[in-house]
C-alpha cells in the first residue's frame, strides 16, 4: 500500500520567507509525527498529533514553527520568517493504532534557506 508522502521534496526559501510543508500519512494511522534532521545527524522530534489533537509540541525550536492537522489526516508544518539555521530535512512519520513506537517515515522535505 501507499506509504507516507511529503511535498514538496525540495524547497529553497530566501531568509525571511514563510514556508509550508505537507504530510500525507498512511491511511488508518491516527498518530502523526514531525522530525527535523540536520545533515549527518539523527532525526530530532518536533511535534506529535493524535488525530487532530496536537499532544506534544515540546520539540518545536521557536514560535516561528507551527503545525496543524485540522481533520486528523493531512498535516502541515509551517515555518515563518525562515532563518538559515532552519535548513534541514523535515521528516513526517505516522504509526498504526496503539503502536506509536512503530513509526513509518516519509521521504522528507529538504529545506534550504539562502
Amino acid at each position: 500500500g501507499a506509504g507516507v508522502s511529503q511535498s514538496p521534496r525540495y524547497k529553497v526559501a530566501k531568509r525571511g520567507q514563510d514556508v509550508a510543508l505537507r504530510c500525507d500519512p498512511i491511511s488508518g494511522h491516527v498518530s502523526l509525527f514531525w522530525y527535523q534532521q540536520a545533515l549527518g545527524q539523527g532525526p530530532e522530534f518536533l511535534t506529535y498529533f493524535q488525530n487532530e489533537a496536537q499532544l506534544d509540541k515540546s520539540g518545536l525550536p521557536s514560535d516561528r514553527f507551527f503545525a496543524e492537522r485540522p481533520e486528523g489526516s493531512v498535516s502541515t508544518l509551517k515555518i515563518q520568517r525562515t532563518q538559515q539555521e532552519d535548513s534541514a530535512v523535515y521528516l513526517c512519520a505516522s504509526s498504526p493504532p496503539y503502536k506509536d513506537y512503530e513509526q513509518y517515515f516519509g521521504p522528507g522535505t529538504r529545506l534550504t534557506v539562502t
Binding site: V4, S31, F33, Y35, L39, G40, Q41, G42, P43, E44, F45, Y48, Q50, L55, D56, S58, G59, V89, L91, A93, S95, D100, Y101, E102, Q103, Y104, F105, G106, P107, G108, R110
Partner: protein
C-alpha cells in the same frame, strides 16, 4: 541525492558476512527500542523493535539484542548484502506519557564490500 551521515562511524563488512551494529542508549525507562535504516535521500525505514522487557528478538535476517544492565542495544544482520548499505539508527521511546516521542542515536554507516 544528498548524503546522510557524512561524519558517522563506519562499519565495513564483506558481502555474505554478518554485521553487528551497536548503540548505547541513555533512558533506562524507555518502553521500546527500535532500529531504523536510512538510505541516502530517503526517510528512515523501520527494521525491528524490541520491548524493554525482552532481551532478544529476531526478524528476517536481523536480530536485536538488548542489554539493560549496560544500556546497550545491538543489531545483527546475517549474510550482509549490498542492499544493506545505509546508515543505521537506534531509537528509543519515552515512558508512559512520553511514549510516542522517539529519541534517535547518532547513527552508524554500514558499507558492504564485494
Amino acid at each position: 541525492g544528498e548524503s546522510v551521515g557524512l561524519h558517522l562511524p563506519t562499519l565495513s563488512v564483506q558481502e555474505g558476512d554478518n554485521s553487528i551494529i551497536n548503540c548505547a542508549y541513555s533512558n533506562s525507562a524507555s518502553d521500546y527500542f527500535i532500529w531504523y535504516k536510512q538510505e541516502s535521500g530517503k526517510g528512515p525505514q523501520f527494521i525491528i523493535d524490541i520491548r524493554s522487557n525482552m532481551d532478544k528478538r529476531q526478524g528476517q535476517r536481523v536480530t536485536v539484542l538488548l542489554n539493560k544492565t549496560v544500556k546497550h542495544l545491538s543489531l545483527q544482520i546475517a549474510a550482509t548484502q549490498p542492499g544493506d548499505s545505509a546508515v543505521y539508527f537506534c531509537a528509543e521511546t519515552g515512558h508512559t506519557g512520553t511514549a510516542s516521542k522517539l529519541t534517535f542515536g547518532t547513527g552508524t554507516r554500514l558499507q558492504v564490500t564485494l
